[in-house]
Amino acid sequence: MSTAELATPSPALPFWVMPVLKTVAVMGVIAAVIVVLVTSGIAPKGSWGHKILAAPFIEMREMPDLLVQTLWEGVVAGILYALIALGFVLIFKASGVFNFAQGIMVVFAALTLVGLYDTFARYGFSGTLAAYVALALTLGVMLMLAVSVERFVLRPLVNQPDIILFMATFGLARLLIGVGETIFGGSSKIMISDQLGLPKGAIDLAILGGRVTLQKIDIAAAVIATLMIIALAVFFQKTRIGRALRAVADSHKAALSVGISLNQIWIIVWFAAGVVALVTGIMWGARSDVSFGLETIALKALPVLILGGFTSVPGAIIGGLIIGVGEKLGEFYWGPLLGGAIETWLAYVIALGFLVFRPQGLFGDKIIERI
């Protein structure tokens, strides 16, 4: 196969530089327009223009402690979305499957943990030791889940178009909901945060003329999430299995030809996603409670993936942060204008906006169709 000559040498910038620059440029233009509108007095107080484009920013400036509080909550939510998205990315990177059931795996993992602990407690076995035993057993359950999914869902569908696999994960999600509800019942449970040693309470910071309250569990969540992301990054880059995963993500055939077992890799990946799901479930559950309502929250990971791309770990994080912060800021400062509760759809509309301008997301590769 001959290689065509290169007319111009390709630039040596990392792939994320141009998209980020473009986004910053667009945001800068929007910010400039807003500043002009506010300072020039074109939009008088009380008018709609003022309410949408000026008042929220004025409020932000006048009460910076509230702004920081909102930003912090956005960051925490963003990290947790990013964790769910990470589970998606792991599976997609290695098997090309868009695992719609990732959200339900989060709930399932959390429910299993709490369910096991409650069973232990009923027999008198409680406390931190019981909690960690339950944790270990839950990891075992997630492993079994990974093996079953690989055996009964992935392997039979290995050559089908992506859309079929996608829909199969819908079925998987529904199946897991049914199993979860049958075994654990449909009522909300309380996460065993105390027994696991997770911190409680809050830290109050008197800054910026006001007060910002940081829940300790949120800080713990951010720290644990960051550690996990670093661990995953190291795992991918440095270990043998990590290398094998990257090989499989690039080309199944090539990986097979060097002796990498596809089935083993898929089990490992689904298990890793299961671990991520468990950690996410623990964190989310500790902040609110454990119920199937988490599923709807988990769906928010989809806009995160759209922003960050389906195969990029840093993309999932950045996407998660953008969505988390964007959502919280939008709800707090602009939500009241529309009647509140815009959090239910704002993330999707943000993602939709991005998609219209960049169909491959922020970090995805431009899709060049070949016929």
Partner: protein, 256 residues
């Protein structure tokens, strides 16, 4: 002297840093069979894609029926009278042969959506009228027996024939064929050659085809243009091109 139907002038096409086509010019006369040949990666399919409006060349222009078209969309090319078959058969796998070819008639069918709500009546009349034309094509290509078979189930050679039928259904002025005989055995190739010649003589369709089989090219085409690494290296009647040293070197792989 027959007039020129399609004229490609100094066209260049790039994908990022990769040059697919560099400064290529040639023309296609009305009613002729023009072959585009060259080793793999020469840019032949990309050339057809440009004519179709699927890729847009960064430089140069394409003139069709006397009208210069800087950036044309695929469906505009179709409306203009260009039809196409593909290297990897691009049939609609979920539909039958008949339905696939009927899709080719889409541009000629005008009865609005409203009439289709009722089917019986003006919509049906139009369907039957176009069905008659499609049946003529089916007779011509001798595929009556597989009318109602879903094309996914057909062997490769028949699929290619159905694709030809679909392109013919558009009653095109210019028919672009991308390796119509790839993967066929001798008998199938002879059949396909016969069909292509018949299309040219009976319907008067101008044909531009990409083909690797030199024997076919020599027999079928009126004129040949040769591409290599995105550049044109020869252009003329088959006998002249066959004897051209550059062409021989290109196919034998002599570096230059």
């Amino acid at each position: 002297m027959s007039d020129i139907l399609l004229s490609v002038d100094n066209v260049s096409l790039r994908f990022g840093g990769v040059r697919a086509i560099s400064d290529v010019s040639f023309d296609v006369r009305k009613g002729e069979i023009r072959a585009i040949i060259g080793p793999n990666g020469a840019g032949k399919t990309s050339m057809l894609n440009c004519i179709n409006g699927f890729y847009h060349p960064q430089e140069g222009s394409i003139t069709f029926k006397g009208v210069k078209r800087p950036r044309v969309k695929p469906h505009e090319a179709a409306v203009g009278g260009i039809a196409r078959t593909f290297q990897n058969v691009a049939l609609f796998k979920g539909m039958t042969t008949l339905d696939n070819i009927m899709v080719g008639r889409t541009l000629k069918m005008h009865k609005s959506f409203f009439w289709h709500l009722f089917r019986h009546g003006p919509a049906m009349t139009e369907e039957i009228e176009h069905r008659k034309y499609v049946e003529e094509i089916i007779d011509f290509l001798e595929i009556e027996a597989i009318r109602k078979v879903p094309v996914g189930k057909l062997p490769y050679g028949l699929q290619k024939r159905v694709e030809l039928g679909r392109a013919l259904a558009m009653q095109p002025d210019l028919l672009l064929l991308d390796e119509p005989m790839a993967g066929m055995n001798l008998e199938e190739k002879e059949d396909m050659c016969r069909f292509i010649i018949d299309v040219n003589k009976q319907y008067g369709t101008t044909i531009a085809l990409i083909e690797h089989d030199m024997g076919v090219v020599m027999d079928l085409s009126d004129r040949v243009v040769v591409l290599e690494y995105g550049r044109k290296i020869a252009d003329g009647i088959p006998e002249v091109v066959k004897a051209d040293q550059n062409v021989i070197d290109a196919y034998l792989g002599v570096a230059h």
